[in-house]
Amino acid sequence: MIPTLDHYLVLSALVFCIGLAGVVMRRSLIVIYMSLELMLTASIIALAAFSRFNQSLDGQVLVFFIITVAAAEVAVGLAIIVALFRQRKTSHTDEIAWLKF
């Protein structure tokens, strides 16, 4: 079987939904952050597939930008999570809800 565009899109939609479910349901900041990266990966899969099947390189270019930006975001994000962990000794979202009225 030769994979068609639809196969890639179904894979991408699945990965996006798994990521979204992870963000909504998990309670550890690290896992939430991994799920968010998974959602970006879904876009990367779909973009690469669209580029391949539409014979246009624009999508591939955007893929590189997404990878770069995601790396920058992870660098800052993990720094914040580590600083939070050092202070509270936890990265569980239920235990760091201090901002309430």
Binding site: F65, V76, L84, F101
Partner: protein
């Protein structure tokens, strides 16, 4: 003034602009220069960097008077558009950057730990927003929005020893990344159906295939991503927490600049690729506007902390702005720009007062502002001007902002929305006036008067913002004509 500006940005409109003359190039250059200065400076003392940063913002604001208006060009193969809309928003960003850096300086003078990056990051954030205001394709849009977001993460979580700041940073991080994921997935779907990432080409291809459900899905996902940045309900729940926990100048920056960047991105999308899909977009925008008006104004009523009130207030103002945008006419666009100007000035004023007073009151709870009018009447009056303008009391600019938006929405025949907005605007009086009541009519809890004063420079900043808030309201017609001339190139 203009000669300074012309020497800074060599050209006037007869000469074609060059990419190295674009303001963002200069802003990023200033940011890098400040980073180098910080490295070379012998003692660890941020005062010099702070002063240099504020001075540079002032210079750039003056230089912005010399920008060529009445000229529409594109750069980098259409990825960057230079026009009146971009100029208007770039000036708003500069004002916000200047006021924010000034407030940051004040925060540090209050003994809260500050490091030089605090004054340098706004430069990259402002440059990113400048690119957003000129965006001409989705690659530029995505990268510049992300630059803004990553800078905001760092600024929100900047007080690393403060538990609230860190928690706000973590929340903003998750929300920011989530909105990015939605935005990128929407862009991906639009690329797949439209075959391009350029706004003009996308508009052409979407015009022919706008019945496709995939297109609708892509548009909705992009609007959800923008809705998060705009703090529009139902994507607003991060705003009160983050505004509360973040350092006060950063809250001001998020409330004003980050929101304005989302607004201009939305406008660019609506006049660009989403123009063929206007009816679908309008429904989504109206739903967001109605929800934001209700949630923002009713949610603020039960709050006891001024910064949280400002968080909900920013949600409600996002509602008013979205309402104006969804009217979709030319006067509506003007009224949105006027509203944003009034909102910017008043919000910066309110956050400026909070930032100046927070070490004297010991916090930003409403009762900690009790009796401010007796000990510091000037400051209390400045705060009152800001609050009344946000509430929309007649002689102030906030009133005319709301008035123009209501008028343009009424013209489009959306009477129910006008009544809803009017009702929530009346409700908003309660929480804005509650703060005024605490300042003027309540006795301080522990009988302690708030004594020590603000520096002359900081008072000057607050007074200038207050005068601008009043002045923009005194001559609303003239201001609107000026915006009209700028945006529609007359």
């Amino acid at each position: 003034m203009n000669t300074v500006a012309t020497t800074l940005f060599l050209q006037k409109s007869q000469e074609p602009m060059q990419w190295w003359n674009l303001p963002e190039v200069w802003w990023i250059f200033v940011g890098i220069l400040l980073l180098l200065l910080e490295m070379l400076r012998p003692r660890r003392n941020s005062a010099s960097i702070a002063k240099a940063s504020i001075f540079a913002f002032a210079v750039m604001l003056i230089a912005s008077l010399g920008w060529p208006t009445g000229l529409e060009t594109t750069f980098f193969g259409g990825a960057y558009q230079w026009d009146g809309l971009a100029i208007f928003f770039k000036r708003i960003f500069l004002i916000a950057g200047l006021a924010t850096t000034w407030m940051m300086r004040k925060c540090e003078a209050q003994g809260i730990q500050g490091r030089d990056e605090f004054y340098i990051l706004p430069w990259f954030a402002v440059a990113a927003m400048g690119f957003v205001s000129s965006v001409g394709d989705f690659v530029t849009g995505f990268v510049s929005i992300e630059l803004l977001t990553v800078c905001s993460y760092i600024m929100v979580a900047f007080y690393r020893s403060d538990r609230f700041s860190l928690e706000a940073g973590a929340k903003y991080l998750v929300i920011g990344a989530l909105s990015t994921a939605f935005l990128v997935f929407g862009i991906t779907i639009l690329f797949g159906t439209g075959g391009s990432l350029r706004f003009d080409q996308l508009a052409n291809s979407l015009a022919s295939g706008h019945q496709d459900p995939a297109v609708t899905m892509g548009v909705v996902l992009v609007l959800v991503g923008v809705g998060f940045k705009l703090a529009a309900a139902p994507f607003h729940w991060w705003a009160p927490d983050v505004y509360h926990g973040a350092p006060t100048p950063v809250s001001a920056f998020l409330a004003v600049a980050s929101k304005a960047a989302a607004v201009v991105f939305l406008l660019r999308l609506l006049i660009g690729p989403f123009a063929p899909l206007w009816t679908q977009c309008q429904q989504v925008l109206l739903a967001l506007a109605g929800a934001s008006l209700l949630v923002g104004n009713l949610g603020a009523l039960s709050q006891r902390d001024v910064k949280r009130v400002m968080g909900y207030s920013s949600v409600s103002h996002a509602g008013f702005i979205l309402l104006g945008i969804s009217a979709g006419s030319q006067p509506a666009m003007l009224s949105v720009c006027y509203y944003l100007l009034a909102y910017t000035l008043a919000t910066l004023l309110v956050f400026g007062v909070i930032c100046g007073m927070i070490d004297k009151t010991g916090g930003s709870l409403m009762r900690q502002f009790n009796g401010l009018a007796q000990s510091r009447p000037g400051v209390a009056w400045l705060m009152t001007i800001g609050m009344l303008s946000l509430a929309g009391i007649p002689p102030l600019s906030g009133f005319f902002g709301k008035w123009f938006i209501f008028a343009s929405v009424w013209q489009e025949g959306m009477y129910v929305m006008v009544f809803l907005a009017g009702f929530t605007a009346v409700a908003s009086l309660f929480y804005y006036l509650a703060i005024v009541r605490h300042m003027f009519f309540e006795k301080p809890a522990d009988g302690r008067a708030i004594s020590s004063g603000l520096s002359f420079g900081y008072q000057l900043l607050l007074v200038v913002l207050a005068v601008a808030t009043v002045a923009v309201g005194l001559v609303p017609g003239a201001v609107q004509r000026a915006i009209y001339a700028l945006i529609f190139n007359l």
